[in-house]
């Protein structure tokens, strides 16, 4: 079983990593570096910290976008080329396919954070670089699983990419929505529709990641307990990953390929 999963994983991974992706990565890292140096030139104080934080955030979001598109594209190809039918005709269970995709996600996220770790290490110290690389890795794992769930469920590339970005942005902007709702409460408190929105949002927030699930950019400006925030993020991501994987498996096993 393991040998088949590894073979599938290798096949899937080779489909994602190609020269174009490597060139794109080089381009993204170059733009991030030049942009951060430009920002450093503008700052009168704390220029190094600001440049590093801007570079780290730009790279984090760039890698998230790259990961979502790469993973979604790879699975969508399986749908379009009828690969699923062929795979399921082989002695390969659906859980092995999900496991192979998850391994692809782990390895791809690891490959993506290596240059991130190196560039942050060159501009900062090893503790900061290690924190940012691990925290971004965990964030990539989380978002990658959103992408896998979306593409397996929705099957179409544009739809699943939009859905994944929407969930990612919704998770990130939970505090903005909470603020907007709390400011609106005095005006619409007695309206039933507003109460319904409040109810729905409060329930949705239970199944959405909050800010502690993501890499904390503020560490570039203040001394923090890296171990503490990393372990909190790690536990959150593990629990949430288990939840997403269960949803993914249920949805995947319910699919009928004709």
């Amino acid at each position: 079983m393991i040998r088949q999963t590894i073979a599938l994983f290798r096949y899937q991974l080779l489909g994602i990593i190609n020269t174009r992706v490597i060139i794109l990565l080089c381009l993204v890292f170059s733009v991030a570096f030049v942009g951060s140096q430009f920002i450093a030139e503008l700052a009168i104080l704390n220029s190094d910290d600001i440049a590093l934080a801007a570079l780290a955030d730009f790279l984090r979001y760039s890698l998230v976008i790259l990961l979502i598109i790469s993973l979604s594209f790879q699975v969508s190809q399986d749908y379009e080329s009828g690969q699923f039918e062929r795979l399921l005709a082989m002695p390969l269970s659906r859980v092995q396919y999900v496991l192979a995709q998850f391994t692809v996600l782990l390895v791809l996220a690891f490959i993506l954070i290596i240059p991130l770790f190196i560039i942050v290490l060159l501009l900062s110290d090893s503790t900061v670089a290690l924190y940012w690389a691990v925290a971004t890795f965990l964030e990539l794992i989380l978002v990658g699983q959103f992408a896998l769930l979306a593409i397996v469920s929705l099957e179409k590339l544009p739809l699943s990419v939009i859905f994944t970005f929407a969930i990612y942005l919704l998770s990130k902007s939970a505090s903005l929505i909470e603020l907007a709702l709390s400011r609106s409460t005095p005006f619409y408190d007695e309206e039933g529709s507003f109460q319904l929105i409040l109810f729905i949002f409060s329930k949705i927030s239970y199944v959405l990641p909050d800010s502690s699930y993501f890499a904390q950019n503020n560490i570039f400006f203040e001394s923090v307990n890296y171990g503490g925030i990393l372990s909190s993020q790690f536990v959150s991501v593990i629990i949430y990953s288990a939840f997403i994987q269960s949803v993914l498996l249920i949805d995947f096993y319910r699919k009928e390929f004709n």
């Binding site: 920002i39 503008l42 700052a43 009168i44 104080l45 704390n46 220029s47 190094d48 600001i50 934080a53 801007a54 955030d57 990130k172 902007s173 505090s175 903005l176 909470e178 603020l179 800010s211 993501f214 904390q216 950019n217 503020n218 570039f220 400006f221 203040e222």
Partner: protein
């Protein structure tokens, strides 16, 4: 045989070419004149900031980075269409709101107070300097340990830029009255003596900057570089005098 070229009389040029020349010349002058006027009018004032909570919410967790980027946006506001606009044209009431809002987003940063005392106070408008001193005082009241250095600079602004020694002494008193738990170098608590001394603007500034540099309180390399450059400039002015 070498061909020679000589200029003919201008009357030889067809008259409609001359008309075209005058029309296009006038067009160019008119266009340039209108463009210069429009660029002057097009100076956009700073827009009032939103509440700090909104910026924190839209920062996606990178609120400290956003606070610095917002400050840079404010800093760059005096550069519009490739021209540097004098601080006199800035709306300092809105600028004060920006500095105070950004401080709320990132209370641990000294950057807004630094801009108020060292950048935006360099304007030949007393009301605007007074607004910057107010910003420094507000920030100092919120976090004296963080902003006492800016307060000492505010003392000099009040004395030398606004010629308001009583106000400068009141500000110096606020520094002197700080609880002993707040660590300050002795010269900061004795700002009154610096103010009452018959020192010129440059001599006071030289004394203040040298004391700051020697105190070891400044750790940011950008600020150290900034102050060293300032000190050198002041020393050059004093040596000329």
């Amino acid at each position: 045989m070498k061909m020679s070229i000589q200029h003919r009389n201008i009357r030889q040029v067809p008259v409609y070419f001359l008309w075209l020349f005058f029309i296009f010349f006038a067009g160019q002058v008119f266009y340039h004149h209108s463009y210069s006027e429009s660029s002057g009018v097009a100076y956009k004032q700073l827009k009032a900031p939103l509440e700090s909570g909104y910026y924190k919410a839209i920062s996606f967790g990178s609120d400290k980075l956003l606070s610095f980027l917002l400050l840079m946006g404010v800093q760059l506001h005096d550069n519009q269409k490739g021209m540097h606009v004098s601080y006199r044209h800035l709306d300092y009431a809105v600028l004060s709101d920006w500095l105070l809002t950004i401080e709320k987003i990132n209370p641990n940063s000294d950057y807004p107070a630094f801009l108020a005392s060292r950048v935006y106070s360099h304007v030949d408008d007393k009301a605007k300097i007074r607004l910057m001193v107010d910003v420094i005082e507000k920030l100092f009241k919120k976090n004296p340990q963080k902003h006492w250095r800016r307060m000492t600079e505010a003392c000099l602004l009040l004395k030398h830029q606004l010629n308001d020694l009583p106000a400068a002494l009141k500000v110096a008193e606020q520094i002197a009255d700080l609880p002993k738990g707040i660590k300050l170098p002795f010269w900061a608590r004795d700002m009154k003596l610096v103010l009452l001394d018959e020192l010129s603007q440059f001599e006071s500034a030289q004394l203040l900057i040298s004391s700051m540099l020697k105190s070891g309180e400044i750790t940011d390399k950008d600020e150290l570089r900034f102050l060293q450059a300032r000190l050198l400039k002041i020393q050059q002015v004093l040596s000329k005098n």
